[in-house]
């Protein structure tokens, strides 16, 4: 290496190290400097000079110690940025009222359940987290949640303050483990323009299965790939037809399935008849992943969906004119599903009192009113039933009315298997032309094997 090259290299190295140290300097922190000690140091005196005393000031830097703040971790999934912002705003409100509690919000953006379950397994789960009713039985049975009854009675929160079916859904062995934060039911959404063009009257709450079928027939134009009613092989839609036919998905104690009961088989026959007769479609028939998109683009005139469809349509299909009513009644009356999510506290929580304060605020009347007015989900407090918002907002009102006849979307410890077999049974009817009776009986048989194996 020549001398010049070597010098260049050295210079570069020095420059690099300088840069590195420059970068490494920590960002300046705001530190309060307080002069704590003032020392007088006598300085040696020479003979020539008179006595000189210099004052040397020794600076002692101390950090001001704050009163320890309690940290509470909160996790949930995020359905949309708007919904996340709403929660962040609520938490900010909370922090103003409770300066001694810091809520660390740690949203989980994907694969929420695997993440939460492995966190619980390793004892690193957040203090407060979202609990879907569908997953609740397993968490309750495994005793990883904190009972909330004592906190409730101490702070005067009553079970009666909440909609009965919701708070009962999160009650296990007589104890409340979760405070429901919001809920949704299914409503029959319809495209007004398509009804007008077909010269049909809009659906009403009093509709029956026959009305639904007649309208679907009148609205369908299979040659243009337009269908009257969406009938996806979806375990989150089909069960309401079983309920409307007087049947159940599971027995009362969730130990056995009732998918092979005559009521359920008849419901499957009715549900799948739409597609068979060319007046109903599954999402992929109209080239979409989800029937909400099919409804938005005008391929499906009626769909059963929840409140989540409204913000989606507003964003993606702002021109669609729609409204919603409660699902039609079946031979045995009304039936609906209720989807609900609660806040729960982990059994490992170090500061349950602080965690409870957060939940109390978030499910309190003030915050629940805010949730209602945001339009994302319906609040769980009874006191809000008469809120003027519900009177102005017909879709929200329909979803709300649906709760009266609704069953929680929950099938016990093996809920995912029940969903899966239910979906498969519908798919077999659609894709393999198996009779509804055979498909439902096979599903029940398969489920019994799974229940036995655990």
């Amino acid at each position: 290496m020549s001398e010049r090259k070597f010098l260049t290299l050295v210079t570069l190295l020095i420059l690099a190290s300088l840069l590195a140290t420059a970068c490494a300097t920590p960002t300046p922190q705001v530190v309060k400097e307080t002069v704590v000690v003032t020392k007088e140091v006598p300085v040696e005196v020479t003979k020539m000079v008179t006595k000189v005393v210099t004052k040397e000031v020794e600076k002692v830097v101390t950090k001001e110690v704050e009163k320890p703040r309690i940290e509470v971790r909160l996790s949930g999934w995020t359905a949309s940025p708007e919904e996340e912002n709403l929660l962040r705003a609520s938490l900010y409100e909370f922090s103003l009222q409770n300066p001694d509690i810091i809520v660390k919000y740690e949203p989980i953006t994907a694969d929420y359940w695997p993440k939460i379950k492995t966190m619980v397994a390793s004892g690193t789960e957040p203090d407060i987290y979202y609990m879907d009713i569908f997953q609740f039985p397993f968490f309750a049975q495994q005793e990883v949640l904190l009972p909330l009854d004592d906190f409730m009675s101490k702070s005067g929160v009553k079970k009666e303050d909440f909609i009965e079916s919701l708070i009962n859904a999160f009650t296990y062995n007589g104890k409340v483990y979760g405070i429901p934060k919001d809920f949704n039911t299914l409503a029959l959404f319809y495209n007004k323009k398509m009804f007008d063009e077909a010269g049909l009257d809009y659906p009403t709450d009093d509709w029956t299965w026959d009305d639904l079928k007649a309208a679907a027939k009148a609205l369908s134009k299979p040659e243009e790939n337009i269908y009257g009613f969406g009938v996806p092989p979806d375990a989150g839609r089909f069960p309401i037809f079983v309920f409307q036919n007087g049947g159940r998905i599971m027995t009362e104690d969730f130990s056995d399935t009732m998918l092979d009961s005559p009521e359920a088989i008849e419901a499957a026959e009715f549900y799948t008849s739409f597609r068979k007769e060319g007046i109903g479609a599954i999402p992929s028939d109209v080239g979409v992943d989800w029937q909400g998109t099919g409804f938005g683009q005008g391929s499906l005139a009626m769909v059963l969906e929840g409140g989540w469809l409204v913000p989606y349509l507003k964003n993606q299909f702002p021109d669609v004119e729609f409204d919603a009513v409660t699902p039609p009644a079946g031979p045995k009356g009304e039936g609906n599903l209720v989807f609900t999510v609660a806040y729960v506290i982990s059994k490992n929580c170090k500061n349950p009192e602080a965690a409870w304060k957060v939940i109390e605020y978030l499910t309190g009347l003030e915050n629940q009113t805010k949730v209602l007015h945001s339009g994302f989900a319906l609040p769980t407090r009874k006191a809000l039933l008469d809120d003027p918002y519900l009177k102005e907002n017909t879709v929200a009102a329909a979803i709300f009315r649906g709760a009266e006849f609704a069953t929680p979307f929950m099938w016990g410890l093996y809920g995912s298997d029940v969903n899966e077999e239910m979906r498969k049974a519908l798919e077999r009817i659609y894709l393999e032309d198996v009779s509804p009776e055979e498909a439902m009986k096979d599903a029940a048989k398969k489920l019994r094997e799974i229940f036995k194996g655990g």
């Binding site: 569908f134 039985p137 495994q142 790939n225 992929s284 093996y414 995912s416 298997d417 894709l431 393999e432």
Partner: protein, 297 residues
């Protein structure tokens, strides 16, 4: 201690000191994890309660599980049997073609390699749109006057082949690069000698290129086998194992039992993972026998 032995010991020690960071990570996250999973495969474990020893029950359950016997196992074998040979042959042909003096050689090499550096999720999403019932593929078929109402990913006969096609398309790039590198290693003298002896293009390819590439073919096929046996992401994004289990693979079934069940079945999923590992091992050994039958040169 003789000085020679001491020196050897010193070298040995130095080597392990340098290896230790890796060995620590490897020991914790591979050896221990695999060993623990092996233990779990003999237990019932739902993540929340401690594992409960149940002996071989998970393995016997596997033999009676319709999802495994009727769907996951045959689908995985079918997938491997089609994708591995096809992607190996196509990538070899592409590599051979791009090794010739043709115009825009570099451009083609880049284009063929692009899918390999693209996220498999993104590729899956693009193909989902293309194979949609009203998507590009059906539109093309319609223009050609062919049947165009196929719901590719929601039809039990076409869903798996569609996913096979996606995977073949997205992996040939990587394999092509490996073949290309190996092709350029073959001395030109062999080709010249063959040409003087009057061999034609095909004969050169068949009797010189392919035999000399044998070790590389072994490598490519092994990587392909492992990848195909473990196919997961395309399934997860495109069909979630449906319709009716027609695209359910072993890897996806493992994921479903371990992470998608309301009550996780970790023990059962671990048992399945070990069966899959044994299958990959056996398949690799078999193909080694086939490819490395006779020593060349």
């Amino acid at each position: 201690m003789s000085p020679r032995l001491r020196r050897k010991l010193g070298e040995w020690l130095t080597a392990y000191v340098f290896l230790s960071p890796y060995l620590f990570v490897f020991g914790t996250f591979t050896v221990f994890a695999v060993g623990f999973a092996f233990y779990l495969s003999f237990t019932k474990y739902n993540l929340f309660s401690p594992p409960k020893w149940i002996g071989f029950a998970n393995y016997t359950r596997l033999l009676q599980d319709e999802d495994f016997i009727k769907h996951a196992l045959p689908n995985t074998l079918k997938y491997v049997a089609v994708v591995v040979p096809v992607q190996t042959v196509i990538s070899l042909i592409v590599a051979f073609a791009l090794d010739q003096e043709i115009k825009f050689r570099r451009l083609f090499r880049t284009l063929f390699y692009v899918p390999s550096v693209t996220s498999s999720v993104v590729i899956s999403l693009i193909f989902m749109w293309m194979f949609n019932k009203v998507g590009a593929v059906n539109s093309l078929l319609k223009m050609l006057g062919l049947p165009s109402h196929i719901d590719w990913l929601n039809n039990i006969h076409t869903a798996l082949p569609t996913i096979m096609a996606v995977n073949i398309w997205s992996t040939i790039g990587t394999m092509m690069i490996i073949f290309l590198a190996a092709l350029q290693d073959i001395p030109v003298t062999y080709y010249e000698a063959a040409m003087i002896d009057g061999a034609n293009r095909f004969q050169i390819f068949r009797y010189i290129t392919v035999p000399l590439l044998r070790p590389v073919i072994f490598f490519v096929v092994t990587m392909g086998l492992i990848g195909c046996f473990q196919v997961f992401d395309q399934i997860y994004v495109m069909t979630a194992g449906g319709p009716l289990g027609s695209t359910l693979t072993i890897a996806y079934l493992i994921y479903k039992n371990a992470f998608q069940s309301t009550t996780p079945r970790m023990g059962y999923a671990s048992a399945m993972a070990f069966v899959l590992a044994v299958m990959i091992f056996v398949a690799t050994m078999l193909q080694r026998r086939i490819i490395e039958t006779e020593p060349y040169e």
